[in-house]
């Protein structure tokens, strides 16, 4: 290893690079576990890229070919079932990991000055991950995904002024069709990964430059820190192996079902549900009355969620106390309420049918 580094060192200034990598360390405290979720999210994204690239070798977008090609992948292609199932499971675990990563940072106020841009890039990636989920769900062109996409894009269409153009933009027409599939495929494999990669690089660079943030409640009190390279990175690697094993376990014992091919002319099957990470929004909209004062209930629901998203995105600029080193209970109250709301609504969504 040393000889390789020496060989490279003779040709490039890698000592500077190594020094830059060694610069980062991880604060040791009882909330240490939460630091792993950034790495787990990154690892699962890498799994997504590799399995997605393999699926691309056989996947054929199109209303007449998408379902058949996925069926071909999981029945005829050697280990195609494994790759497809791992792609689906790791996508879901990635969303879960991203949620945990985002809320843990929110609750610990790590977004505070000088890390506002780290928060912003993270939030943009969070929204892109949800976009990945929404666009990828349709790609097998099965019945459940078709109608879930129809409902999802219908909800977007409720927005005033931009609703209709947004709906047409997402669907590539008035209805969910092969055109929708084509553009969702484009979003999923080209546009979103490209944009995501830029923000990911920025996010990682910001962390590398600024180092890991200490929780606000422990600011100035943490005496012990762990070097990121190699100590924390090795622990990360161990965890990645275990997460990879979990993905394999789920793929082998609970392979992702394909269902039946979408038929735009058939009636929507009973119990159409979105992916679990959209369930809390879906369930909330179901609870809202048709009319609230002069507004459509659904519109108000979407407006409220949009407002929450915007507040969350701009939170470092709205909440200034933590940047001044003052304790800010509002973030904890807001964050805990949001987590409880998401969990309760998701449970209700799955149990009430």
């Amino acid at each position: 290893m040393r000889s390789i580094l020496a060989w490279l060192g003779e040709r490039f200034q890698i000592t500077d690079l190594i020094g830059f990598a060694k610069k980062k360390d991880v604060p040791i405290h009882h909330g240490f576990l939460w630091y792993y979720f950034g790495g787990i999210s990154l690892f699962l994204f890498v799994v997504q890229v590799f399995t997605g690239a393999l699926l691309l070798l056989y996947y054929k977008p199109g209303a007449d070919s998408a379902f058949e090609s996925v069926q071909f992948i999981i029945t005829k292609v050697q280990y195609g079932w494994l790759i497809r199932s791992m792609h689906s499971w790791s996508a879901n675990l990635m969303v879960l990991s991203v949620f945990i990563h985002m809320f843990s940072n929110f609750l610990e106020s790590t977004y505070r000055k000088p890390r506002e841009l780290t928060w912003l890039t993270g939030m943009i990636m969070f929204f892109i991950v949800l976009g990945f989920g929404f666009s990828g769900y349709l790609l097998p062109w099965n019945e459940l995904a078709f109608f879930a996409t129809k409902v999802g894009t219908d909800i977007a269409g409720v927005l005033p002024l931009v609703g209709k153009p947004l709906l047409v933009f997402l669907r590539g027409g008035d209805e969910v069709s092969g055109a929708t599939l084509s553009r969702f495929f484009g979003f999923h494999v080209a546009i979103l990964p490209g944009v995501f990669f830029i923000f990911l690089m920025a996010h990682l660079a910001f962390i590398q430059f600024q180092g890991m943030s200490d929780p606000l409640r422990l600011e100035g009190k943490i005496k012990r820190r762990m070097p990121f390279f190699p100590d924390f990175a090795m622990r990360d690697l161990m965890l990645w192996f275990l997460v990879f094993n979990l993905v394999a376990f789920l793929a082998v014992f609970f392979p992702w079902e394909l269902g039946s091919k979408a038929d735009p002319f058939s009636a929507a099957p009973a119990g159409i549900k979105p992916e679990w990470y959209f369930m809390f929004m879906f369930q909330t909209l179901k609870f809202l009355p048709a009319k609230i004062l002069f507004f459509e209930g659904e519109f108000l629901g979407i407006a409220a969620f949009s407002l929450c998203g915007a507040v969350l995105f701009l939170w470092p600029f709205l909440e200034r106390k933590s940047s001044l080193g003052e304790q800010q209970p509002l973030a904890k109250i807001f964050g805990t309420a949001a987590i409880l709301f998401i969990i309760i609504m998701t449970v209700i969504g799955y149990t009430r049918g």
Partner: protein, 447 residues
């Protein structure tokens, strides 16, 4: 013009005065009263029959009379005749333009009143046997119902003076007659058994006819009854599918096979050419009914074939005769295909539950099932060679599908074994990394 002051209403038809009504429908009143009555007639009539489009005096007066009189009007709002623009007078005659019962219900105006039971077939037949008339409303509606009816047991009985037997309104209802396509019609396929049972399950009515009354109970539990009444399969036979409707007669032994063959084509063709056909004819045995029964036909089982305890063949064939051997052979063939089918299905189900995609194999298995159904139908040729040929053909695909099932189950084991090996590798790697970390950890930096 001086109106006729009379109460000349056909016997049996209630008059308005019988009910104490004089306003609204004029019965011998002076002209002034008549005008007032006319105003009231329109006012009350408008309120009472606002939902009605028919403003004939029959409708107005019957509505005012209330009770059963009004109920007829109410029922008629659902009647297919009413929906086609026909009104009371089109069947019952009379003058619907007059509010005077002596005129509107005058025989001289063609008023017929309510026909007696034995007159009803001809009463309906005036239009329903008239192709020119029927064509104006429904060109696809047959006009041979009356002719058929006279050939039926019902028609023959009524001609002989038995007024208890079914005529048109017994089945189609009266004043709320609905299209056969209307699910609320008593002659809608799902309702036919109940409609027939109304009389045929009534011991009192059937006593004079000396026919059993258990057909409906038997039918309800039969394979046909369950298909129609429980599963709602409109293609399943109801009473009229076998007995005919307007020309309803019990099919005799000579034609019962032809009744069944309308649906069971393959079985019919094979049986007709089989050695059983002349034998059954010679013995005057009802061909299908002899093995399968009639109103309480159950889903046939493979056990009914062969020489086992539940086999029907052994009722006629004794050990050692040719039929006995043929039955045993056909039973073995059918059983072998069924077992193969069930084995393949169980394998594929198991693999599918464990996450292996087997939709193509399951699709192929449908063809095996079709082959099994076909082989069962071919039993009716009573020729073991025919059954063997069909079973052999289906068995080729069945073997292939079973092999796919075996492979799918093996695939499950392969996947799980692979995972266990991967888990061991993961544990080893994690342990190695852990050991390496312990060895190289520089410990926390104190800041």
């Amino acid at each position: 013009m001086q109106r006729r002051a009379t109460t000349n209403v056909p016997q049996g038809v209630p008059t308005l005065r019988h009910r104490g009504y004089s306003a609204g429908c004029r019965v011998r009143t002076p002209r002034t009263t008549s005008i007032l009555a006319l105003v009231a007639f329109f006012a009350l009539g408008f309120v009472a029959v606002s939902a009605q489009t028919d403003s004939s005096s029959c409708v107005v007066c019957h509505t005012q009379l209330g009770g059963d009189y009004a109920a007829v009007v109410q029922r008629f709002s659902n009647d297919i005749h009413g929906k086609n623009g026909l009104s009371c007078h089109n069947c019952h005659g009379g003058d619907p333009t007059s509010d005077d019962v002596d005129i509107s219900m005058n025989k001289a105006k063609g008023f017929l009143g309510a026909p007696a039971a034995q007159a009803i077939p001809e009463f309906c037949g005036r239009c329903h046997s008239n192709p020119g008339f029927i064509q104006r409303y429904n060109p696809s509606l047959p006009t041979d119902q009356l002719d058929k009816y006279w050939t039926s047991d019902h028609g023959r009985q009524i001609k002989a003076g038995n007024t208890k037997v079914a005529q048109c309104v017994s089945c189609h209802s009266v004043h709320d007659i609905r299209s056969v396509k209307d699910p609320l019609a008593p002659v809608y396929p799902l309702n036919v058994p109940q409609t027939c049972a109304h009389c045929h399950s009534n011991k009192e009515i059937m006593a004079s006819a000396k026919i059993p009354t258990d057909q409906y109970d038997k039918y309800k539990s039969s394979v046909h009854g369950i298909a129609l009444l429980v599963k709602g399969d409109l293609g399943a036979p109801a009473c009229n599918s076998c007995h005919g409707n307007h020309a309803a007669v019990p099919p005799g032994f000579s034609s019962i096979g032809r009744v069944c063959y309308q649906c069971h084509l393959v079985e019919g063709e094979r049986f007709t050419l089989s050695p059983h056909k002349p034998a059954f004819d010679a013995l005057q045995v009802e061909e299908c009914v002899f093995c399968h029964s009639q109103h309480d036909i159950q889903h046939p089982t493979d056990q009914e074939l062969g020489v086992g305890q539940d086999a029907l063949c052994v009722e006629c064939h004794d050990k050692g005769d040719k039929g006995y051997e043929a039955a045993a052979l056909m039973s073995r063939e059918i059983d072998s295909l069924r077992v193969k089918y069930e084995t393949a299905l169980a394998l594929l189900d198991d693999a599918e539950r464990k996450g292996v995609e087997v939709s193509e194999a399951l699709f192929s298995l449908r063809d095996v099932r079709t082959g099994l159904v076909n082989a069962r139908a071919l039993i009716h040729a009573f020729n073991p060679d025919t059954v063997t040929t069909a079973v052999t053909q289906a068995m080729v695909l069945a073997n292939q599908v079973q092999q796919e099932g075996v492979q799918a189950v093996a695939e499950v084991k392969h996947r799980r074994s692979g995972y266990y090996i991967f888990t061991i590798i993961t544990i080893v790697l994690v342990l190695v990394l852990y050991a390496w970390t312990r060895a190289t950890d520089r410990g926390p930096i104190e800041k």
